[in-house]
Symmetry: C2
Subunit: 233 residues, 2 copies
């Protein structure tokens, strides 16, 4: 399942266009976070895809809009430029994203920011994967609905498999155990946030299977145990 999440869209026309694009490429699940009021203009632009607007869910916060999502994909027109910035790096082009998601069994959300502003860092940090559409340096800013068009087009033929993926609780446990190890090995406190985000990016791109997650959880658990044993000796 692919959900389209629009954060604070301010132009009705864009919401309508995006509903139409979703119908064009076979998507159904539209989530709006604190949007402009959806009235006649949005319906006009949605054209025959009014049903997508009718079924759209409106939320007050990002967290509510992605509650049952396994992989959250942040879209941005401003990708990172250095490897040391884990917020927007490394990022995928839409083609790379498609290859990455082919065969993935989890629930995906594509997150789009407000017109003119894009997604703020605090939302991008909460996403496992970052994607950016390659554009010309002269005028790199795509209109929102055209960015959606390109991503929905590119992802419209991804194939899902039945391979189980770890749920959010299990992923959270993995990250908790990694953080525990970081603490145990005295990883510098000032690098903590950066390293946590780096791990989120790495595991986000890795698309763990449930089986892999369990194995990893075991390894992390035993690592922690071992470190603690050594300490008490």
């Amino acid at each position: 399942m692919v959900r389209v999440v629009l954060m604070n869209p301010k132009f009705e026309g864009n919401v309508g266009f995006i509903a139409r694009l979703m119908a064009n490429f076979g998507y159904n699940d539209l989530a709006l976070v604190d949007p402009v009021s959806i009235e006649d203009e949005a319906r006009m632009y949605a054209s025959q895809a009014e049903y997508i607007l009718d079924n759209a869910c409106i939320y007050n916060s990002f967290e509510e809009a992605v509650q049952n999502i396994d992989t959250k994909i942040a879209t941005t027109g401003i990708p990172g430029v250095t490897d040391s910035n884990h917020i927007r790096m490394p990022y995928y082009t839409p083609k790379e994203l498609k290859n990455q998601l082919d065969g993935y069994g989890g629930n995906i959300a594509l997150i789009f920011g407000k017109e003119d502003h894009g997604l703020p860092n605090k939302i991008i940090k909460k996403c496992e994967i970052v994607t950016s559409i390659p554009t010309s340096d002269r005028y790199p800013v795509l209109n929102l609905s055209h960015a959606v068009a390109i991503l929905l087009y590119e992802l419209s033929d991804i194939q899902k498999t039945d391979i189980s993926v770890p749920n959010q609780k299990e992923m959270k446990l993995i990250h908790n155990r990694i953080n525990q190890i970081l603490q145990l090995i005295n990883h510098p406190k000032h690098k903590k946030q950066k390293t946590k985000l780096m791990m989120k990016r790495i595991l986000g791109r890795a698309n763990l299977t449930k089986r892999e997650a369990y194995t990893l959880l075991g390894i992390l658990k035993n690592t922690i145990k071992k470190i603690k044993q050594n300490k008490t000796k």
Copy 2:
């Protein structure tokens, strides 16, 4: 060089959006055939890409708009369904089109029809290549500017080579000689138009080099000579 040709666009907003998309993906050459009057609304939607609108050429006919173009690509939301219809068949998806054009040295035009109507058969027949974006059966009709977004995005990184391509005169001569042969071998008259279009599609997809075109011209010439010799014997 890739030219974007809009046939009779009727909404200013679309023309503006398309100018912006061209700037986003590094294109410059916009041709408008008998368009709506380009006023403030188009400029607003073009945003920082007003220079594309300022430099756009306005034509009265399709022929004028594609005068120096080697390969004309018709875009359509209604591709052919049977092999026997050479007007809209075979067609390329945008990805296939990109692969096809990679390394091509000639001038290309992407031709888009009027909103709601698309390109008529009489224009599609004049194009060497047909492309169609795969969409959902439930609502297959893309908005014009979103169709442009997807094609410009997909073609934005095609690589040009220096390999010479035949000019329009040379291609016309090839087709003339083929038609001459069809006549000499008594190809049924009622199939003539269909076969001519089929040859246009085949050679359009083949992307002949200039060298290949010359060799082909020689072969066709000698074939015609041979048939005529046999006749007089």
